[in-house]
């Protein structure tokens, strides 16, 4: 009998909506395997956030787990998985999910399959599974076979929609692991608040610039448009490497993955590493002198020409309306 566990992170009692994305494939898996599905979160403050998600599961409680502490989280989860004989553990593959699952896999010395987009087959030889996972940040996929009896998977972010809460309060049991105090050595000790309001990850529109912008000063026109539209400025890796923008503005595989209503890419040709960071945008407008640039051919809308001239005209047009 398969037992499926879904790890749902909470940050000081708050469960982000995306953290529940892994629940969607987990439910489909539970249905197809006829398996029990349970949730787990760490720290007592997570209980109130998880109960509405239901139907049942565990809240792991221990003084060391008073705040995010990946080493201790991994240890605690390993004890729960062994104690309750779970055969499948899923989590969203965001920063924390990926980290906690890696600790869990390391403690149990089991393979971990990162960023799965599809569970293709659960009836392979000797209980093996076939899954599809993300490589190259999403520009390539891998068909992989998992032979271990315990299946540890993270689910690629932005792949599934989080399910709606069904309104029924779930039944959550407290699980108290044995954790040495020394594992508090990797716990959050301080938080520093920087950004108030909009960030690259949350802005409805991102005005982004690449090589074609030409200099740090030339980003002023992108800033102006972003301000007018209530958005923020982003950039490509070229702009970061040239020192035109801080890395925190970088959109892409090794920067931020964004999903705004509109992505305006100015003078960005669109290497795969950039594309995977912006492909979740609802609409993409590319502004480029080269009509054959990869990002132009992949965009929903494009304007061909000099970005400074075009942005200047767009800003003038917007100002003329008000």
């Amino acid at each position: 009998m398969n037992r499926i566990l879904v790890f749902v992170d909470n940050d000081r009692g708050i469960v982000s909506p995306s953290a529940l994305e892994a629940l969607t494939p987990a439910r489909a898996l539970a249905d197809s395997l006829g398996a029990a599905l349970e949730l787990v979160t760490v720290g007592d403050r997570g209980r109130a956030a998880l109960e509405p998600v239901g139907p049942s599961g565990y809240v792991i409680s221990h003084p060391v787990l008073s705040d995010y502490a990946p080493e201790a989280y991994g240890e605690a989860l390993a004890q729960l998985v062994s104690d309750k004989a779970f055969s499948v553990v899923l989590s969203l593959g965001d920063d924390r999910g990926a980290e906690v699952m890696a600790h869990l896999a390391a403690v149990l010395d089991q393979p971990l399959v990162a960023n799965v987009t599809e569970i293709v087959d659960t009836e392979g030889p000797h209980g093996s599974w076939e899954v599809i996972r993300v490589r190259w940040g999403g520009s390539l996929l891998e068909r992989a076979r998992v032979r271990s009896s315990l299946k540890l998977l993270t689910i690629a972010p932005h792949t599934f929609c989080a399910p709606e809460a069904d309104g029924e309060a779930g039944r959550f049991t407290t699980f108290v692991p044995e954790i040495p105090d020394s594992l508090a050595r990797t716990r959050v000790v301080e938080r520093v608040k920087l950004a108030e309001g909009l960030t690259l990850a949350t802005a409805p529109v991102v005005v982004s610039g690449g090589r074609g912008v030409g200099s740090a000063e030339n980003f002023a026109v992108l800033e102006e448009l972003a301000d007018l539209l209530g958005g923020v400025v982003g950039c490509s890796r070229v702009a970061t490497n040239n020192g035109w923008r801080p890395h925190s503005d970088q959109v892409g595989q090794t920067g931020t993955r964004i999903a705004p209503d509109l992505y305006i890419a100015c003078g960005i040709s669109g290497a795969v590493q950039h594309w995977v960071g912006c492909m979740a945008s609802k609409q993409i407008l590319a502004i480029n002198t080269d009509p054959e640039a990869p990002l132009v051919t992949k965009a929903d809308y494009a304007v061909i020409g000099d970005l400074h001239e075009i942005l200047g005209a767009v800003i003038a047009e917007i100002k003329a309306r008000t």
Binding site: D95, A102, W136, T186, L229, D261, T297, A313
Partner: protein, 253 residues
């Protein structure tokens, strides 16, 4: 402050990735190779820490003989010692990689541990997000991933990790392990003296043997390409009214 950085040689693809005919690998005939970006920044972070606190920077890679190219580059940007653990050119799974690295690290340390071992958060190509954590666990050292800032404060490593609002701070007792993200530093360009120095021979170790782990690659495939009919809104400044109409449709104006 003796620091070890573990790096991976990866292809440097541009706009398109082409697969080999058997779908087992990406076709690298027309591609250059590079150090995985997070790790390139980790090397820079290690060199900066060494410049501030003294000590040495060692760069270690598990990879094919050609990976000496990435090690030479590491020397040209400030690494003192580079080590190749020769392996075949197949993709090693994370468990096998970690156990070979642990063996190599224990060899290099000979009982006196590196103060800090840095990894990239995940490799650009296979993206497993786990090798550094597995190595740290095996060595019994504290580890934190996803760092965008790193400092040494006495016998502690202070790490900063970005969140939506700002950053979280971690303090790990040394010796410690950390995985860095691109942006932790801006890598420097190689210097001429560095390049000259980088001609010296690399230290080679016995080839590593791949241990069974998982998962196992069956094949690679390209995601279904969405065919986009790009609507050209116009050329040059004349396109401005069309752009403004789009902004209205999206609800931004």
């Amino acid at each position: 402050m003796n620091i070890l950085v573990c790096v991976k040689r990866v292809p440097a693809p541009g706009a398109r990735i082409v697969l080999t005919d058997d779908s087992q690998d990406i076709d690298t005939r027309h591609l250059g190779f590079t150090t995985s970006p997070h790790e390139e920044c980790a090397v820079e972070a290690a060199v900066q820490l060494k410049e501030r606190h003294g000590g040495t920077t060692t760069v270690l890679t598990l990879g094919p003989p050609d990976a000496v190219e990435q090690l030479r580059y590491s020397v040209s940007v400030g690494a003192d010692r580079v080590v190749l653990v020769p392996a075949d050119s197949t993709e090693w799974d994370p468990q096998a990689t970690a156990s070979a690295l642990v063996e190599a690290i224990e060899d290099l340390e000979g009982g006196s541990p590196f103060d800090l071992i840095l990894f990239g958060n995940e490799s650009a190509d296979s993206g497993g997000y786990q090798v550094g954590i597995r190595v740290a666990r095996a060595l019994g050292r504290p580890v934190i991933s996803g760092l965008k800032g790193i400092e040494i404060d006495g016998d502690q490593m202070v790490g900063r990790r970005e969140t939506d609002e700002g950053f979280e701070v971690y303090r790990l007792p040394l010796p410690a392990v950390a995985a860095a993200k691109e942006g932790i530093t801006l890598p420097r360009y190689p210097t001429l003296p560095g390049r000259l120095k980088s001609r010296r021979p690399e230290l080679l170790q016995d080839p590593a043997e791949m241990k069974a782990g998982g998962p196992e690659q069956v094949s690679l495939l390209k995601p279904a390409e969405e065919v986009t009919e790009t609507v050209i809104l116009g050329h040059g400044a004349d396109a401005a009214p069309g752009v403004v109409r789009l902004l209205e449709e999206v609800g931004l104006l």
